[in-house]
C-alpha cells in the first residue's frame, strides 16, 4: 500500500514520468543488451586512441597476414597493420556519419510530416507526392551518381543519407499527426484562437515524439549500414582510413589469405547494427506501454 501511494504521488511531475520510462526500459533485456553493445562502440569511437595496443596505421611488412595470436588479438592485414586496433579506430567514422545523418533526417522529416499532416489538403498532397517520388528512386544508384559527381566526403555522405531517410521519417510523423489532429484538445486550442505553429509544436509535437524517436532509432541502424555500404563502394572514406566498410572492400582481395582481416570489421559492423536495432525494439515496446 505504501508503495502504491509513493508511485501515485511521485508519478505526477514530468521528471517522474521520465523516470517511469527509464524503469520500463531497465526491465527490458532487449534494450539493455542493445544498450551495452552501442555504449561499447561509442566508447571505442571516442576513446580508441587511448585503448588501442598499436597505431592503426602503423605498417609492419614482416608481420603481414599473421593470424590472430596473443600479440595481435585479431591478426594483421596485408600491410601488417593490427586488425584489432583498426576495428576500434574504424568505429569513429561510422558513429559520426550515421547519427549525424539520422538526426538531420529526424528533424527534417518531423517538420515535413507535421506540416503535411496538420495542414492537409494541398500542402499534404504536394509534400507527400514529393516524398513518394523520392522513395521511388533507387537509392544506391542515385547515391553512386551524386557522390560520383560531388566527390566522396563525410559531409556529402551525411547529407545524402539524411535526404534518403527524411521521407521515411516524414511518413511516420505525418500519420502520427493525423491521429492527434482530430482529438478534442486540438479543437480546444483552435477555439481559443491558437496559431498553427503553436498547435503544431506545442500541442501536437510532444505527443508524437514517441513514434518519431522509435523511427529515428530504427533509421540509425540503417544509417550505419548505409554508411558502410557507401564506403564499401568507394564512395565514402578513402584509404588508409580504417573505416569498416572501406576495410571490408579492401580486404575482400585477401579473403583467401587472411579472412580475419575482413571478419574483424564485418563482425563489428554487424554487432553495432544489431545493437542499435535491439535498442529500437526496446524503445518501441516502452513507448507502447
Amino acid at each position: 500500500m505504501s508503495e502504491l501511494l509513493s508511485i501515485s504521488e511521485s508519478s505526477g511531475s514530468r521528471s517522474a514520468a521520465a523516470l517511469y520510462y527509464v524503469r520500463i526500459l531497465m526491465r527490458s533485456r532487449t534494450f539493455l543488451v542493445g544498450g551495452v553493445v552501442v555504449v561499447f562502440w561509442l566508447l571505442a569511437a571516442a576513446a580508441w586512441p587511448f585503448i588501442v595496443p598499436y597505431d592503426p596505421q602503423a605498417v609492419a611488412p614482416f608481420d603481414a597476414f599473421s593470424p590472430p595470436n596473443a600479440v595481435h588479438w585479431l591478426g594483421t592485414d596485408q600491410l601488417g597493420r593490427d586488425v584489432f586496433s583498426r576495428v576500434l579506430a574504424g568505429s569513429t567514422s561510422v558513429l559520426a556519419i550515421a547519427p549525424a545523418a539520422t538526426v538531420l533526417a529526424v528533424f527534417a522529416g518531423s517538420l515535413i510530416g507535421l506540416v503535411a499532416g496538420y495542414y492537409g489538403g494541398i500542402a499534404d498532397d504536394l509534400l507527400m507526392r514529393f516524398v513518394d517520388a523520392q522513395l521511388a528512386f533507387p537509392g544506391l544508384i542515385t547515391a553512386v551518381m551524386v557522390l560520383g559527381l560531388l566527390g566522396p566526403s563525410e559531409l556529402n555522405m551525411i547529407l545524402l543519407i539524411a535526404i534518403f531517410f527524411t521521407p521515411l521519417v516524414a511518413r511516420v510523423a505525418r500519420s502520427s499527426v493525423l491521429g492527434e489532429r482530430e482529438k478534442d484538445y486540438i479543437g480546444a486550442a483552435r477555439m481559443r484562437g491558437e496559431r498553427s505553429p503553436y498547435v503544431m509544436f506545442i500541442e501536437i509535437l510532444p505527443n508524437i515524439t514517441g513514434p518519431i524517436v522509435v523511427e529515428g532509432t530504427v533509421r540509425l541502424g540503417y544509417a550505419v549500414f548505409t554508411a558502410a555500404t557507401l564506403s564499401f563502394l568507394g564512395l565514402g572514406l578513402q584509404p588508409p582510413s580504417p573505416d569498416w566498410g572501406r576495410t571490408v572492400s579492401e580486404q575482400a582481395n585477401y579473403l583467401q589469405d587472411a579472412p580475419w582481416a575482413l571478419l574483424g570489421p564485418a563482425v563489428a559492423l554487424a554487432t553495432l547494427v544489431v545493437g542499435v536495432n535491439l535498442l529500437a525494439d526496446g524503445l518501441r515496446r516502452a513507448v507502447r506501454e
Partner: protein, 690 residues
C-alpha cells in the same frame, strides 16, 4: 453463500455458483486485490444484473468466470462452478471445450467481436460446425434460424453481408446469435448496449427478454446503467470496490435499497421528470478507494452518510436483510431513512428578459460530408442565459451543428449569428472577443486535454489567450478542484477531474455561451451528477447560456430550458423541456421518450418501438425523413412531401403532417412519464417530481 430458495423452484439448482472469489490484477509490478470475497449464484433462465461504477471489478468478475484474466491477472482463492463443474480446476484443453460449449460472452463493442473479412452467415455457421459438428448445409439452416431468433429481418440477405454493412444494433444481435449458437449454460453480457442508441438499446433489451423465455441459459448482465438492469434482470447485485455490497430482486433493491451505496447510485441519476430548477442531483461525496487498497472497515464508510465509529474499524459481512435479499451493512435498516440532503434548489434560471435578441442564431445551416448531409437546413436560436438541449440518436447531426457553431466545421450554407451579428465561419478568423464569448466543452475526457501538458499549463494558456480576469486558482475553485491537482500531467487525472479542467478552460475568458457536446456521457453516474450540478451552478453564477448535447434524455430534461430534437440531420421539434416531454409531441420524440429505461416498476408502461434501422444517411428517405420508422405514419403523403412546421403551443413547434391536436389525442396524456401511484418508497417518490 446460499440464497433462500424460492418456493416451487427447489429443483432448480444454480447453474453458476461463485463463492468467496478473490482475484488480483498486476499493475506496474504490483498485485492489486480487485475482487474481494464475491459470492453469487444464477439459476437457469434467470438474469442477474451486476451494477457498479468503473473500477469496481465488474469486468474482472466476468473475465474471472471466463478464466480470461490473462498474464497480469490471477485468481487468489474461491470457487467457480458451472453446472457442477469446477471451472478453476479445468486444464487448458477442457477449458477451451467448456468455453465453446457452456460459456459465452458478449462484449461492449460488437464491431470488434466480429471478423471484418468474413460474411456474417459464415461466422455464425462456423460456430455450429465446430461446436455441434453440423454439416455445412445444416449449419446454414441453423444460422438462418438463429438470425430469426435474434429478430434480424431478412436472414438470407443478412447472412451474405459483412459486419461493416450492419448497424451497431444489428452487429450486437449477430454477436448474441453467435453466443447462443452453442446453447450455453451461462451467457455473460458485458455492457452489451453501451455505445448504442436508446432505441437500439431498447431493441437489444427486448431481445434479451425474449431469449430468456426461449433459451434456458443463465444470464449475467453487467452494466453501469441502473435503469437497464432494472428492466432486463430479475435479480441484481451491486459491486463496490471489489465487494458485493447488496444483492436481491431488482425491484426491491431499487425501491428500498439496503446499502447506502445503492441509494447513493439511485439518487445521483437524473430521472425523468426531474429538472434543475426544482431539485439538485445528489452526487456521492468522495471518490472510489484506490484500486486494490485494503481498508480495515467497510470500504464505503468514508463516503457513507450512516458511517459511525464501528464502520471504520470493523468490516460488515454480507448478511440476509430480508427474504432473498442480502446487504453488507451494519445499519441496512436505516438506509431507506437517509434524508435527501437539503441543498436548496437553484434559483430558477432561464432566459433573462431584458434582451429579446437571441444570443446565438444558427440560420438554415446545411453541412454535408461527401454524400452525407449531416445537417440539413437547421435553424435554432438560443437566448441569453438559456440552456438549449439538443437530443437525437447518433448520426442525427447534433455534434455537426455544434461544431459549425463553434467554427470547427464550416457550414456549406447558412449563417451563424452571435449577439445579432453574423460571424466568420472559421474559428481562426473570428474576433478575439467572440472567441472569449463562445467556448466549447468536448465529449471525451481522455482527449479533451493535451496529455503532454499539466492542468495548470492548460488553464494558464487559456487565461492568457482569452484575456481572462481570473487566475488559475480562481478557475480551479470555480470547478471545485484543488490547485495541487493541477500540477500533474493531465493523464494522471480521473475522468471527472479532466472534465472539470475542461470546463474551467471553457470558462477562462468569461464566456456568454458554452457548447457542451455530451460532456457527461463518458462519466460514471456519481461523477456525472457532480458535473451536471457544476454546470447548473455555473450557468446561474456566470449567467452563461449552454447548447447542451446529449443522447441521454433524462439528463437533457434535467438541465435544459428548451429542447430541440434532431433526426437524420433535420430538426423535428423545438419547445420548452416540459412541452417536448409531454404530448403532443413529434412521433419520433414520443418514441425516444418511451425508450428511456426507467427505474420504475417494469411492464406498466406502454412503449413505442421504432421499427427498422436508421436509414442510410447518404440516401435519406423522401418526404419526411422519419417516415420509414414512424409509428404514426399516415401514408403516401409522408413519403412524398416534407412535413410542415406546426405550432403545438406557445414556443412549441414540430414538423409533422399530423396536426398537434390529433397527436395529442393519439398520444396517451401521461405518455412518457411514470404512471402515478406506482413506487411506494419514500426515498424514490420524493424526487420523482412528476
Amino acid at each position: 453463500m446460499t440464497t433462500v430458495t424460492r418456493a416451487g423452484e427447489l429443483a432448480r439448482d444454480p447453474v453458476l455458483l461463485v463463492s468467496r472469489l478473490n482475484a488480483s490484477y498486476k499493475r506496474r509490478g504490483l498485485w492489486l486485490h480487485t475482487l474481494k470475497d464475491v459470492s453469487l449464484d444464477i439459476r437457469a433462465g434467470e438474469a442477474l444484473g451486476l451494477v457498479g461504477e468503473s473500477g469496481c471489478g465488474k469486468s474482472t468478475l466476468a473475465f474471472a468466470i471466463m478464466r480470461y484474466l490473462g498474464r497480469n491477472g490471477r485468481i487468489d482463492s474461491g470457487q467457480i462452478t458451472l453446472g457442477g463443474v469446477d471451472l478453476l480446476s479445468l486444464n487448458d484443453e477442457r477449458l477451451r471445450e467448456a468455453r465453446g460449449r457452456d460459456l459465452a460472452m458478449v462484449y461492449q463493442e460488437p464491431g470488434s467481436a466480429l471478423n471484418p473479412s468474413m460474411r456474417v452467415g459464415e461466422q455464425i455457421a462456423e460456430v455450429f460446425r465446430f461446436q455441434t459438428g453440423s454439416s455445412s448445409r445444416e449449419a446454414q439452416n441453423r444460422t438462418r434460424e438463429m438470425l430469426r431468433t435474434v429478430l434480424l429481418p431478412d436472414p438470407d440477405g443478412m447472412m451474405k453481408r459483412y459486419p461493416h454493412q450492419l448497424s451497431g444494433g444489428q452487429q450486437q444481435r449477430v454477436v448474441i446469435a453467435m453466443a447462443l449458437a452453442c446453447n450455453p449454460k451461462l451467457l455473460i453480457l458485458d455492457e452489451p448496449t453501451t455505445g448504442l442508441d436508446a432505441s437500439v438499446e431498447a431493441e437489444v433489451l427486448d431481445l434479451i427478454g425474449a431469449l430468456r423465455r426461449d433459451f434456458d441459459s443463465a444470464i449475467l448482465f453487467i452494466s453501469h446503467n441502473l435503469g437497464l438492469v432494472a428492466r432486463a434482470c430479475e435479480r441484481v447485485g451491486i459491486l463496490y470496490a471489489g465487494r458485493l455490497v447488496e444483492e436481491g430482486p431488482a425491484g426491491q433493491v431499487f425501491d428500498t435499497p439496503a446499502h447506502p451505496y445503492t441509494l447513493g447510485l439511485l439518487r445521483c441519476v437524473p430521472r425523468l421528470g426531474l429538472a434543475k430548477d426544482s431539485s439538485r442531483l445528489e452526487p456521492i461525496p468522495g471518490s472510489l478507494p484506490a484500486l486494490g487498497s485494503d481498508v480495515l472497515g467497510c470500504s464505503y464508510a468514508p463516503r457513507c452518510p450512516l458511517a459511525r465509529e464501528r464502520c471504520h474499524t470493523e468490516r460488515p459481512e454480507l448478511l440476509p436483510v430480508a427474504e432473498q435479499r442480502a446487504a453488507e451493512c451494519f445499519y441496512s435498516s436505516e438506509v431507506s431513512s437517509i434524508p435527501l440532503s437539503v441543498t436548496p434548489a437553484m434559483a430558477p434560471s432561464g432566459p433573462t428578459q431584458d434582451d429579446h435578441r437571441p444570443l446565438l442564431g444558427l440560420m438554415r445551416i446545411r453541412k454535408a460530408y461527401g454524400a452525407v448531409t449531416a445537417c440539413n437546413d437547421v435553424t435554432i436560436e438560443v437566448g441569453r442565459g438559456e440552456i438549449f438541449g439538443l437530443v437525437g440518436e447518433s448520426g442525427s447531426g447534433k455534434t455537426t451543428l455544434a461544431r459549425v457553431a463553434a467554427g470547427l466545421a464550416e457550414a456549406d450554407s447558412g449563417e451563424v449569428i452571435f449577439n445579432g451579428d453574423p460571424v466568420a465561419r472559421k474559428v481562426g478568423k473570428r474576433r478575439r472577443t467572440l472567441q472569449r464569448a463562445l467556448q466549447m466543452v468536448f465529449q471525451s475526457p481522455d482527449s479533451t486535454l493535451n496529455p503532454a501538458h499539466s492542468g495548470r499549463f492548460v488553464l494558464q494558456r487559456a487565461i492568457d489567450r482569452l484575456r481572462g480576469s481570473r487566475d488559475v486558482g480562481d478557475l480551479a475553485s470555480m470547478v471545485r478542484m484543488d490547485v495541487d491537482q493541477l500540477g500533474v500531467r493531465t493523464t494522471q487525472l480521473s475522468g471527472g477531474q479532466k472534465q472539470r479542467v475542461a470546463i474551467a478552460r471553457a470558462f477562462a475568458g468569461s464566456p456568454e455561451l458554452v457548447l457542451c457536446d455530451e460532456p457527461v456521457s463518458a462519466l460514471d453516474v456519481s461523477v456525472q451528477a457532480a458535473i451536471l450540478n457544476l454546470l447548473a451552478d455555473l450557468q446561474v453564477s456566470q449567467n452563461v447560456a449552454y447548447v447542451f448535447i446529449s443522447h441521454d434524455l433524462a439528463v437533457v430534461r434535467y438541465l435544459s430550458d428548451r429542447i430541440g430534437v434532431m433526426y437524420l440531420g433535420e430538426l423535428f421539434e423545438v419547445g420548452s423541456a416540459e412541452q417536448v416531454f409531454a404530448p403532443p409531441h413529434h412521433p419520433y420524440t414520443e418514441a425516444l421518450v418511451s425508450a428511456i429505461p426507467s427505474l420504475g416498476p417494469r411492464g406498466t408502461r406502454g412503449r413505442i418501438r421504432l421499427t427498422g434501422e436508421m436509414p442510410d444517411p447518404a440516401r435519406p428517405p423522401s418526404g419526411c425523413r422519419f417516415n420509414t420508422r414512424c409509428p404514426r405514419k399516415l401514408g403516401v403523403i409522408c413519403e412524398r412531401e416534407a412535413p410542415p412546421w406546426q405550432e403545438a403551443g406557445p414556443g412549441h413547434v414540430l414538423r409533422c403532417h399530423i396536426s398537434p391536436t390529433i397527436l395529442q389525442s393519439l398520444q396517451h396524456p401521461t405518455g412518457g412519464i411514470e404512471p402515478s401511484g406506482a413506487p411506494t418508497d419514500t426515498a424514490l417518490t420524493s424526487d420523482l417530481g412528476a
